[in-house]
């Protein structure tokens, strides 16, 4: 039997959390359920929905029906967008890791005061408006931008390289805006790493590569997993960066979802795509939690 104090404690916990919970249920969690319901309705002719049960939206994610022959086939355009989203998100994760790991290592091995300064320098872009950072990259890579101007002026190229409005532009942009999300957890992991282990390994005649592979990487693995998830998840749901840098053609899932609520006038399909994205993200997060728990278990 719980004691009266216990019960009062639980009641207080709930009462004090109630305003936050109500607000979140109204404007965050609750609306997600509505999206789920909408994904099983019929599309209205001018946007919105018809209140009739239908699995067309979920079916329409992968397949389309030919208007004339009524033949069912794979929706190539949709698959291309999914493939681009996954490919660009994975590449973004790889690039940010390749750049972020040495950066995090560099910061973690500075003297305490310098370390705080370098860390602050990573944090500023992290908190800077994503739109502003995307604009900044846009300034650099567009046809009349700094990069092309410099290369033209130096005589390396004779005509501007078309980077903007390509997949490469989206990739550069995402790697740029999400780099701090990789560096921060990697730094946290490396910071906890006991540098004496390095000396021990070198004393035992390990080569630099062996030390990196057998000592450093296994121990900082939780940080690697955390950073990869933190970069991969927002990359997959990216909306602003592909819109600004990819132009209209190089859509990712996020832009494709928006399209369904605008010109596409297919709210149920948009809702189904949103749910699909949510499920993928949740699976990735669960994998992360499991890996993190495992890592914590092995770490000691």
């Amino acid at each position: 039997m719980p004691s009266p104090q216990d019960r009062a404690r639980v009641r207080n916990g709930w009462l004090l959390s109630a305003p936050a919970l109500v607000l979140l249920a109204m404007a965050a969690a609750g609306p997600l359920l509505v999206v789920l319901v909408y994904s099983f309705l019929e599309a209205g002719q001018y946007g919105g929905v018809e209140w009739a049960f239908s699995t067309d939206a979920w079916f329409g994610i992968l397949f389309s029906k030919d208007i004339f022959t009524d033949e069912t086939m794979l929706a190539d355009a949709h698959l291309a967008i999914f493939w681009r989203s996954v490919k660009l998100s994975l590449l973004t994760t790889l690039i940010t890791f390749a750049v972020g790991f040495p950066t995090a290592w560099f910061i973690a091995t500075r003297a305490p005061r310098a370390r705080a300064m370098w860390l602050f320098l990573i944090t500023i872009p992290f908190w800077t408006n994503l739109l502003i950072r995307t604009f900044a990259i846009n300034e650099v890579i567009r046809n009349e931008g700094i990069l092309n101007s410099l290369l033209l002026w130096a005589g390396v190229i004779s005509a501007p390289i078309q980077i903007i409005y390509t997949d490469t532009a989206v990739l550069i942009g995402m790697a740029y805006v999400y780099l701090p999300l990789m560096v921060l957890p990697l730094f946290a992991a490396i910071d906890r790493f006991d540098m004496k282990l390095l000396e021990a390994a070198y004393d035992l005649y390990a080569s630099r590569l062996q030390v990196l592979r057998r000592v450093i990487l296994p121990i900082v693995k939780p940080g690697i997993v955390a950073g990869s998830i933190l970069v991969f998840v927002p990359s997959l749901g990216a909306y602003v960066t592909p819109r600004v840098l990819g132009g209209g053609k190089n859509m990712m899932i996020g832009n494709f979802i928006e399209l369904q609520f605008g010109q596409g006038r297919n709210w149920p399909l948009g809702a189904a795509l949103s749910m699909l994205l949510l499920v993928i993200v949740m699976v990735a997060l669960l994998a992360y939690v499991r890996a993190a728990n495992k890592g914590a278990g092995h770490g000691h």
């Binding site: 509505v34 091995t109 800077t128 502003i132 009349e144």
Partner: protein, 267 residues
């Protein structure tokens, strides 16, 4: 090799990559700021130092309205989020776990996990019906939406502060016949202060910066500064947008510096 012991933590090439990373992080931002002071209509041509784009942005009524709207929303939303988050933090820390606490954690942190575009679409669907049903098209939708996704950002620093706090001071106050409200008002709240201010500031910055959810929730003519800037993209980017970006950037850096000074104090 004689240098091994002394260079054990140095991995060849890592410092160079780090240097490139910092250069790559800052060069575009600094370029953007530099060009906001450019006295030339052509964006990639340097025409001397000038404040004309700041003056142009300042005189633009659309920018003025968007700024005022952004500030109204960010102030209201961060205030609501901070009050809710402070209460929730008091309810969920320092008293041992209770049944349903995990549920509360998940709910509070939910905006950090769900992709923004999904929340944006969800709010678009729900608020579209509410707008039709009630006929109300005001700023409340944006304020409520912002307050909701700001809650975790306010909650985390406040909880961190509470968890680091010494319970014995409150016990001492109670021993000295302070009633629970007096204890809270004169002991707990002042001790929580820096955490609450830090949380409020993070919430403010997050609300001020939001693009995606605002873009989907706003009614016609309700542009905030970020959605106004995004809208300008359909035309060519003018140096005016650079000026607005730089001003926002300066505000962010200012708030962040204050945030770090506040949170560092407690160590």
């Amino acid at each position: 090799m004689a240098t091994r012991a002394f260079a054990a933590t140095t991995i060849p090439g890592f410092a160079i990559v780090a240097g490139i990373a910092f250069f790559a992080l800052y060069a575009p931002i600094l370029t953007l700021v530099a060009y906001s002071f450019n006295d030339s209509n052509a964006i990639s041509q340097w025409g001397g130092f000038s404040l004309r784009w700041y003056e142009a942005a300042w005189a633009n009524t659309a920018v003025q309205e968007a700024t005022l709207r952004s500030l109204t929303i960010a102030c209201s939303a961060s205030a609501i989020a901070t009050v809710c988050a402070t209460m929730a933090a008091l309810g969920t820390t320092r008293r041992g776990a209770f049944r349903g606490q995990t549920f509360i954690y998940v709910m509070i942190n939910q905006p950090l996990m769900v992709p923004e575009i999904v929340t944006a679409v969800a709010l678009l669907i729900v608020f579209a019906s509410v707008k039709v049903a009630t006929g109300y098209n005001g700023l409340m939708y944006l304020i409520i939406a912002h307050a909701a996704f700001c809650i975790p950002f306010a909650y985390l620093p406040i909880r961190a502060r509470l968890e680091g706090m010494d319970l014995s001071l409150e016990t001492a106050a109670a021993d000295l016949y302070a009633n629970p409200w007096q204890t809270f008002r004169h002991v707990t709240l002042p001790l929580m202060g820096p955490g609450i201010i830090a949380g409020a500031m993070l919430a403010f910055v997050i609300s001020l910066d939001d693009v995606v959810i605002t873009e989907f929730v706003k009614s016609a003519g309700q542009d905030t500064l970020p959605t106004y800037m995004l809208g300008q993209l359909r035309r060519a980017i003018t140096p005016e947008v650079n000026a607005i970006s730089s001003a926002l950037l300066a505000l962010t850096v200012l708030l962040l510096t204050a945030f770090f000074l506040l949170t560092r104090k407690r160590d």
